[in-house]
Amino acid sequence: MNSDVKIRCRNLWKLFGPQPEAFLQEHGGHPTSEALDEGGYIGAVRDVSFDVHDGEILVIMGLSGSGKSTLIRCISRLNDPTAGQMDFDGKDLLNATDAELIEIRRHKMGMVFQNFGLLPNRDVLSNVLFPLEMQGMARDEREAKAREMIELVGLTGREADFPAQLSGGQQQRVGIARSLAVDPDVWFLDEPFSALDPLIRAEMQDEFIRLQKVLKKTIVFITHDFEEAIKLADRIGIMKDGQMVQLDTPENIVLNPVNDYVAEFARNAPLDRIVTVGAIMLPEKGAESSQSIDASDLIGDVARQVLSSEVPFAVAHGGKIVGSVGREQMLDGLYGPEGQ
């Protein structure tokens, strides 16, 4: 087993309907879409296998109803998967007892909800310390820890406010602080910013990136917004009708989409912020220029240089020249190949 795999899912299924287990067995563990329709079942998650690596940000995307929430709700065991395997830190998560599950949730998992899920009867401070209270941590200790989290998300001074007195963005900060209070290994965020208006959303995304720089958690992040995905993701998984269609780096998703569905997601992607020089260069080394750029540079960062130069640039990788990039390649890279 790979040591840096945090969560491992294999052939995960989640069906909604009258008798999902029996139905799945009847169809040999692999019903078709037609069979699901006919039986009146919803295949929210269908045969999904993937790993989440330690310390990465995995972003999951897909149309509404494609099963994103259900997938992370299966991993966090808010929903019980119908079939499949799931390991967390190498331990079987599916057959964990209730007590083990509570233990895992108390120490290893944190979750942020789209509509915040704050407890309306508790003020900010006691919302944030709630998970610690559940663990039975001593009062002083949990208050200190909660204040620390509140400071981290920039809500100092609002400890005594109630959720109803806060704006959406502030409420979500409380949700984030609460989910971080137990110092989880894995952090699930289900469309955490989509209930917020665009300005606040951008601010929260920056905030999130700043937090992650400090915290370095393993993150599974759901979003509808491709720009948000690119801003945050190490890898992006795209779901359709319960299946994981493609799971790859942002660059590969943009440059080598497996089908039209994925391509459609990436259509309006800001290529200059995703594509690297290495992906557009010509492999031959016939560059006359003495200037060189690195293969891992984003093309947006070097576009001006390349376009204003008469001669192609040499592309270096690991100290060696591996190819060249001229105006033509750069234009193709920025705007897509001609004739498309």
Binding site: I102, G110, M111, G117, L119, M134
Partner: protein
């Protein structure tokens, strides 16, 4: 990008074609056939009109015998069932006795005086201030002051003692039942229909078995009260738990809550508002029951009112009735305000004394009043000389009024009775029961499916088999007449309120207030004006049951989407056309639910009208009380519940189908 939606269009069923299905015959035709067949049947067989007495299943007397056995001989191994009931009664007697000590008797064993009435009046005012602010404070204190000034204090406190003790019991038991039912599907499937039945059974029917097991007096009243007030609480608990947003529950789970922590720290606090409405319901039901329990010898305001009514001392009855109304309204306002009390943000960070200012000021009032009571007796108990009563004057006034108006009312009453009610009653009595069974079945099948049809037919049939057909028919006749008039009054008022927002506020406020009155109260004006008879019964029911017809009409109309009305206006509809062609049809399902409520309330009032003489099921219950004919009382109560359930299922079935067609939820 288009995303192929899986279509789930039903495939045409081939087997529907060959023979005509029942569902394709219009309901009216079915009815016509049923009626024809029924008339033919009754011509051949007299049993279709009147179920032969010898064929009546004597369930009533079996139940009576069972309860007699339970009350006298039942027991296991040396322990008699009687001991259990006695133990229970003793258990409940203690808190009740203490409540009475504190409220009006004085603590006898310790030789302490009761809490001075002044302190209670101001204390309730303070409670009102805590729950709802200054206005409520004055209102609540004023209401209690009325009780003291009109010399109703002791009796009010007797009644209040039952409420104060019964409420915590009912709340706690209801809470546990609700939680249990919410946790286990199986429990819910048992408990839920039981609650339906319990809530449809009139108050009085609860008293019958309680009398046999526990005798007469305060404690049986308390027990009946707790049992009666529990289902609404459990209902509210279930609703509260169901309506907690799933995000909150899940946030709790992800915070690592154990199931117990999840329930008590997350779900119950989050559902607090609905839970508090449950408490409000419990309080109101408790009061209503405490008043009616005077029939089994509970003392207090209810008993005084009963006596006054029986002796036709209407002036006193009005004063006592107003006293009960005062208690009801004050309790209702305070518990409602408590349920809706916003979190006191301002109190955060203030001093301890500020945060506990209500408790502290009550403490101060208590100390001062007790000290004063040592010097001035009037502070402790208001002496009779200082109370006022307009009983005799009111009596004279009422008598004068009744005499003056009787000349007008009597001919009207007699005319309505002779020319309308009696023929209607005779018609009802002449309907053969098989027709009713079949029609109820046909309607149930069409409106709500096979299960409902079977249930409704079964219930009607049971009424026949157990020998309650005639009183049941008389009940339906009274209720139906009353409900039709309720609709004629309530729906137009609802429309009026909808059309003119200026009158909507006062009308809704009056409705709210009227709904808090215990049903007993409505007998007072009826006896005053109409004496006794069918019309008196109908008017009493009318007075009690019109409110939901008004309220649901108003709400149903208000809920119509603006675009619908605007579309009607731009299409050139006159206000009248708009009302008849658009607004009423769209609001009809909601209005029907209001009528459903009206029927339920009318049925529960039927039992009360037994006090002014009737021949219906209510009378059966009423007569069972002193004669200890438990089976008859219980079955009559259940028969009322059965009528209610049949009406409810049919109307709900209709409303649901209709709502689906209209696409409103």
């Amino acid at each position: 990008m288009t995303h192929p939606l899986q279509s789930t269009e039903p495939v045409a069923r081939p087997w529907a074609a060959p023979h005509l299905k029942l569902a394709q015959i219009p309901l009216l035709w079915q009815f016509a056939v049923i009626i024809a067949a029924g008339i033919a049947l009754s011509a051949l067989w007299g049993g279709a009109l009147r179920w032969p007495d010898i064929w009546v299943i004597p369930l009533a007397s079996w139940i009576t015998t069972f309860f007699e056995w339970l009350g006298n001989d039942a027991g296991i191994g040396g322990y008699e069932f009687r001991d259990l009931t006695r133990f229970l009664a003793d258990l409940l007697k203690q808190p009740l006795r203490w409540a009475e000590y504190v409220l009006y008797r004085g603590v006898r064993p310790l030789d302490l005086p009761p809490v001075p009435w002044v302190a209670i009046v101001i204390g309730v005012g303070i409670l009102g201030h805590w729950a709802g602010g200054r206005k409520l404070a004055f209102f609540a204190a004023g209401g209690l002051l009325y009780l003291a000034v009109f010399g109703l204090w002791r009796d009010s406190m007797r009644t209040l003692a039952i409420v104060v003790v019964a409420v915590p019991f009912a709340v706690v038991i209801g809470l546990w039942l609700g939680i249990w039912a919410e946790k286990s599907r199986r429990a819910a499937s048992v408990v839920s229909p039981m609650f339906d039945l319990m809530q449809a059974t009139p108050h009085m029917a609860y008293l019958v078995p309680v009398v046999i097991l526990f005798g007469f007096g305060q404690v049986p009243a308390l027990i009946a009260t707790v049992v009666f007030a529990m289902p609404p609480m459990a209902r509210c608990v279930m609703l509260a738990l169901q309506t907690v947003p799933s995000a909150i529950t899940e946030a709790g789970k992800m915070s690592g809550c154990t199931p117990r922590q999840l329930l008590w720290k997350v779900q119950i606090p989050a559902g607090k508002r609905i839970l508090m409405l449950g408490v409000n319901q419990v309080v109101m039901q408790t009061l209503a029951m405490a008043v009616i329990a005077s029939l089994v010898g509970a003392t207090g305001l209810g008993q005084k009112l009963l006596t006054s009514l029986q002796q036709l001392k209407l002036g006193a009855a009005v004063e006592q009735g107003l006293g009960i109304v005062m208690i009801a309204v004050v309790l209702d306002r305070i518990t409602q305000a408590w349920a809706n009390r916003p979190t006191d943000y301002a109190a955060r960070g203030r001093s301890w004394a500020y945060r506990h200012r209500h408790a502290l000021s009550f403490g101060a009032v208590l100390v001062v009043s007790v000290l004063l009571a040592g010097i001035f007796k009037e502070v402790s108990v208001l002496p009779k000389g200082m109370t006022v009563t307009f009983g005799t004057q009111l009596d004279d006034a009422v008598r004068w009024f009744a005499k003056e108006t009787y000349g007008v009312i009597q001919p009207v009453r007699d005319f309505i009775t002779v020319n309308m009610l009696i023929p209607l009653r005779n018609f009802f009595l002449a309907v053969p029961w098989p027709i009713v069974v079949a029609m109820v079945g046909a309607a149930g099948l069409r409106l709500a499916g096979r299960g409902t049809a079977m249930l409704c037919m079964g219930l009607v049939l049971a009424i026949v088999l157990f020998g309650f057909w005639e009183p049941a028919v008389l009940t339906v006749y009274l209720v139906l007449s009353a409900v039709i008039i309720c609709i004629c009054i309530g729906v137009p008022i609802g429309i009026w309120a909808f059309r003119s927002p200026r009158v909507a506020r006062p009308i809704m406020a009056i409705c709210d207030t009227l709904q808090t009155f215990p049903s007993f109260i409505y007998l007072i004006p009826v006896i005053m004006l109409l004496k006794v008879g069918d019309l008196a019964n109908i008017v009493a029911i009318l007075a009690y049951a019109t409110v939901p017809a008004i309220r649901y009409t108003y709400l149903g109309l208000k809920r119509i989407p603006d675009v619908t009305i605007e579309a009607a206006i731009t299409n050139g509809a006159t206000p009248m056309q708009r009302l008849l062609k658009v607004e009423l049809p769209v609001a009809l399902p909601e209005i029907m639910l209001g009528i459903n409520q009206t029927i339920m309330m009318a049925l529960s009032m039927v039992a009360i009208t037994a006090l002014i003489g009737s021949r219906d099921l209510g009378q059966e219950i009423y007569r069972a009380l002193p004669t200890a004919d438990t089976g008859r009382g219980i079955l009559a109560g259940l028969a009322i519940a059965a009528i209610g359930i049949v009406a409810d299922r049919l109307i709900q079935g209709w409303a649901n189908t209709r709502k689906k067609q209209l696409g409103v939820k």
